[in-house]
Symmetry: C4
Subunit: 272 residues, 4 copies
Amino acid sequence: MIALLKDKPRLHNIIADSDTPEGKAFDIAVMIAITISLLVAFVESMPAVEGRFKFILTVLEYVLTFFFTIEYALRIYSSPEPKKEALSLFCIIDLMAIMPLYLSFIPCLSSTRYFFILRVFRLIRIFRVLRLFSFINEGYLLLQSIKMSIRKIAVYFLFVIILVTILGTIMFMVEGGQEGTQFTDIGTSIYWAIVTLTTVGYGDITPVTMVGRFLSGIIMILGYTIIAVPTGIVSATMIDETKKKGVGGRCPRCRQKTDLKANYCKHCGEKL
Amino acid sequence: MIALLKDKPRLHNIIADSDTPEGKAFDIAVMIAITISLLVAFVESMPAVEGRFKFILTVLEYVLTFFFTIEYALRIYSSPEPKKEALSLFCIIDLMAIMPLYLSFIPCLSSTRYFFILRVFRLIRIFRVLRLFSFINEGYLLLQSIKMSIRKIAVYFLFVIILVTILGTIMFMVEGGQEGTQFTDIGTSIYWAIVTLTTVGYGDITPVTMVGRFLSGIIMILGYTIIAVPTGIVSATMIDETKKKGVGGRCPRCRQKTDLKANYCKHCGEKL
Amino acid sequence: MIALLKDKPRLHNIIADSDTPEGKAFDIAVMIAITISLLVAFVESMPAVEGRFKFILTVLEYVLTFFFTIEYALRIYSSPEPKKEALSLFCIIDLMAIMPLYLSFIPCLSSTRYFFILRVFRLIRIFRVLRLFSFINEGYLLLQSIKMSIRKIAVYFLFVIILVTILGTIMFMVEGGQEGTQFTDIGTSIYWAIVTLTTVGYGDITPVTMVGRFLSGIIMILGYTIIAVPTGIVSATMIDETKKKGVGGRCPRCRQKTDLKANYCKHCGEKL
Amino acid sequence: MIALLKDKPRLHNIIADSDTPEGKAFDIAVMIAITISLLVAFVESMPAVEGRFKFILTVLEYVLTFFFTIEYALRIYSSPEPKKEALSLFCIIDLMAIMPLYLSFIPCLSSTRYFFILRVFRLIRIFRVLRLFSFINEGYLLLQSIKMSIRKIAVYFLFVIILVTILGTIMFMVEGGQEGTQFTDIGTSIYWAIVTLTTVGYGDITPVTMVGRFLSGIIMILGYTIIAVPTGIVSATMIDETKKKGVGGRCPRCRQKTDLKANYCKHCGEKL
């Protein structure tokens, strides 16, 4: 164990890669720990159930926090670039996920005054689920393709905002003044327009007048066409970019599989 | 300031283009003004909140109307073709958006009799949101591609109208005569058919009889296939046309970026 | 008028084609008559409104039935192949749409005993809306492409039926025995599965137990993927077939526009 | 009859293939038996109706079970590889579907104690519907293409799980502490996120606060884009793989139609 702590490269290999049997075992252990951690958070959020299992939940949380603290420390300790590692997305999430328990030991924070804030803060543990992304190659590519098309998504978002603002306002004009209407204000009407155009259709707000239903019928059919187009465009571009980047992650020279985050091929040194 | 008023081309450049730092600053100022104007309209529509902020809302509206009036006047004044500019879509929206406040000063219009009409009329301010389209290249292309495929959309619209009329009538035949049915008349049944075929599915009108549920199950599965096809065709054509026009807006001769609304390339004079 | 009645080919040209100004005018007259006929049927289905407009609705129906009877007679009379024409889809719809009024004159049928049957029968008038298909080229192609892929749709339909039967049964196993469940029987559970898989989601039947929600969550995500594939395949094939047939309807030899229902090109005689 | 029992290859041909008129007739008989079996199970699940038709339902079930028992026995008896056949998916389903009736004869199992278990167990009969898959070529291909892309679906599944966990948690943070909220715990919030992202939108859980509606509006629009991409990718890959395998199932050498499950072309012996 102590030998391993001294052999930084090997430790880093176990923690960061999954090439070796040890690395794979470590990965699976982390995945199981994350899953249990999620289940604990789910159960804790149910007041009825939480009371019954309070003891085991508390124990599990202490154990898991201990495990993730060790893992966090080892990851930064073994990293060739500790500072860069500490500022990576997954390390920040990890730190935020283990902090709440330690913060609850500070007396002034555990008072009832900060109880609600702490409760919300502890939910950040659930964001650990994001680390599962690192276990799937396609997941990383997806995140990257989203990052690359962020401008396209922003434009699309603005387009939809304009559309739903106009449609929501028109529906508010038609249904707003009616008796017993659910279109009480423009914000609600715009919320209705979003729910309708994305075809989610909760049904918590629905038109009741003849004119309102006639109009929303037209909105649905037209909107279905108009919103399908930018969604199609954004999706098509994102798929294109994913393809260009190469889902397989193969080196263009030696055709061997490369690491996704690598800048150079680890087999022939080709720049990727 | 007065020097600027005399230099019409430069003024026009600031207002209509966003190439210069001044033009960009002006654009951002307009965007912020539109956003605030929208928020004011949203808050005003909520009776509970409006009472509390009545003063600040009134002040904001006066300031914004003043700003948009100046902007409207300058835009038309600085334009090389004032008449054409005044009849452009965005100028008409602008005029309609600033009019309500001025109209409310006319005593006979501010009477309670016309109160409701004026209230609805003032909502036109929200249509200012359409001006945001001019800030996104893709938005302009989208509007144009919609304009180009207007006939295709009309055909598709007619197709869906025929489909939902038939399906709505069939459901009315089956469910209409039942006790406690929500399919009270054919109009409502057609509204249900639209809500169902577009997969919005509010659930405000649902079949309750066995036969009705059986039939609507078939309608959903078949309709899902049949409506997916024309939607796919319309979307595919619109994406095609957008591609042909070129999203990049590059000149086919010199390959440099061109203005979207330009008829000639501003770099080499090539007709676009 | 009588001269026109004797000139069968010209009469046929006016009724069946829309090349000549007269033919176009006739088409528009028919479209207006269909639209009014639909509106009359819609209003008649609303008991509250129908009482008030009873007189005008009755008059309109008599006039429209008279118009459609004349049109029906002329179409068959002027057709080069009256028998084939009489058995065409649109003529059958037309006959069924004008029959109910004449049937109501027969004393024994207008008794209260047959009242409900007659009321349902009269709704067939609404099926006149199908004739609007003949006014749009794409509509005709669509109908044909649907007719061509009828086997594919049948297979897809069977696939969805199998899927929803299994999913509905599983949900009935999980939620069926619970207190206050909405999954009262397997038929209802399958109806729920259809509503869920097509993403319509009325919300009239929803899972309430933990296990039921967990399961239906998985069903939604998996089903979303699995049902998207056959829908995509069917749509893709139908678009392909539409393309092959040619949306433009041009002759492969002389490249001129041909009539959609023509078997030979009217410009060069090429077999289509 | 006895001659047929001795002619194993011919018997196998009738049961397993549908090339001969006898084989086709047998297939249709099985399809009808499955359909009736499903209808019996549907009606049995409705307590109100079941009482009235108890006798005929019991008779039908005995007859069908007898039929499927004979069919099951013959299929295994006539198979060239009885052991492999007995372990095939469809034979296992069949065995599970006929077992419940025989089990109900065992006295200790038919007691009220095991009544509920037996009731659930008997629903397995409905899984017979899966056998219909074997009657459609495309159905078999679909199942195989799903089997081939199982890893892709798993990755996509994990991606959606991560997404809805995060979105559900955020909504629970915002709406969870409110009075009269429907977001009672994280599990429920994640269920809401799934219902929303897949655009099913039951409406059994909806945001009521301003912030919650604002947030869920953003989730819908963004999620609509983000979830459309992986769905598109998975579907595209599955369609690709189906195409590669060849929907027609033709031999690459002699271009003649081959059996779907064949490893060698039955016309020229080419390995497929």
